[in-house]
Amino acid sequence: MAVAEADLAVGPARPRVSWTPYVLILPTVAFLAVFFIYPMVQAVWLGVSDPQTGALTWQHFRRMSGDLYFRGAIRYTLTITLLAVPLQVALGLAIALLVNLRFRGHTMFLYLTALPIGISDLAAGLIWLSIFTERGYLNSALLRVGVVRDPVLFLTIERPDWLVGAVVITEIWRATAIVMVILLAGLQLIPKDYQETASVFGAGRAQTLRHVILPLLRPSLQTALIIRTILAFQLFGTVVVLAGRQIPVLAGEAYFWYSLYRSPNVASAYALLILVSSATVTWLYLRLLRIREEEARV
């Protein structure tokens, strides 16, 4: 209500040209300045300053990179991202294209496949734990089919690859929904005439998809890739539940350094590492996908 009252001062005669919109966006800008910009500055400060003297130092980054779990955290975060994100995008695109065919029951299919949007990484980890655990549903199913007689240990440090696989499967199950929704929103912006025109000129389904739909879908694909990659760098709950610290990841290490070793400085160094990687990846995606666009025009 305060919103509309503020506008009264300007008068209803010219509501479109006034300072009103700036007043309306001011709370958002102020809030984000305090709770985004300030912590970011603070993260840099914590990362490079000595907690006692306040002098500039690299010791926190050195402690971070010298830590036993550091290399593993980088390797596993990258591996899981590289495996999960492409599969999420491929499956998300497939589901979005299926929904966009508007077959009978496509809305039910859409809601069902969108359900994991409401599920946290933690809950998804717990769900798949009930499947992968020693006496879980997967082992029961394998026994039923006669593949195994004794339960197979899927989640064990002796098989780190399997642990990674379990995390990747869980992430694909959980996060494909977001990709699908982004891509479907993009697909619905593409006018139907384009596809009809393509088919009039004799393009098959595959050709229409490759030369008409996918190029037009590029902005959505870009957004989906950026969002999913950045969220994958923050992977935490799924890994904690399925693998504990046996599979170290960046966000997990930030948590352990903060809570377990009580060092907000090294934790901030990890936070900065995640920030910088996210920014780099975003920049790379924007660049790579734009360059390809220029090539396509030539």
């Binding site: 309306l24 985004f36 912590p39 946290s120 029961s140 929103a185 957004t223």
Partner: protein
Amino acid sequence: MTLRNLGLSAAVLLISAWVALPLVLIAIAAFTPRELLYQWPRPFWPESFTLETMRFFLRSTGVWQSTLNSVMVAVLTIALAFAIAAPAGYAIARFRFRGRDSVQLAILMVKMFPATVLSIPLAVAFIRWRLYDTLLGVAIVHTALSIPFVIVIVTSVFLGISYELEEAAMTLGSSRAQAFARIALPMALPGLAASAIFTFVLSWNEVFAATILTLNNRTLPALIIDSVLGAGAPLHFRFAGGFFMIVPALIIIFLIRRYLLTLWGVTVR
């Protein structure tokens, strides 16, 4: 043609099963008697279901309190996010102003920002500001996460309501405030409710910031992380916890299904 339909049906069924099966399994696990969960060979379908596993979870130390905390944080988040972001959404929908495009770009950037990692430096600041280990502190971070979503949905809601209706009310003698309150607001309510509900899910599900920013006043996800990492909670506790966490989220996603595309649909152009 029929072959194509067959392929289509097969793909739809396969993907539906892939999404639905784990949800069904965790529901079964949450109502399976405890002994059966540890038995080998383990039956898929227990002969009798029991509420005992869920009851064990809900009676465990801290679960009830942290559930209350989660709800409180979510409600606070909704209130804060709306007070702060709804005016911005209305402004973007109703006004053409210089910097409008940059505001929209900024919203998109905030949405993509790895915000949860900022909870570490924030925790240090919160100790100074006496917000550490408070529900308000967690709600503030959740507000920062949900602001972009509230803005996009409020914008799309008001874009869908013609401004001419408000103008018509004003020519008939109502003030700008009255026109907004009597005409636009009632029409906007369903959409606003949807974004409030989505904000609830976002807050209810958030793990990392809640874990970093609390110590005694845990939210439910933070408590579960604790019990998994620290206390080595038994499997039946974990399954019941997983099921308990997804139930409200699933109901809520179903309620706001019409707005899903709006929430995520804005892209980099």
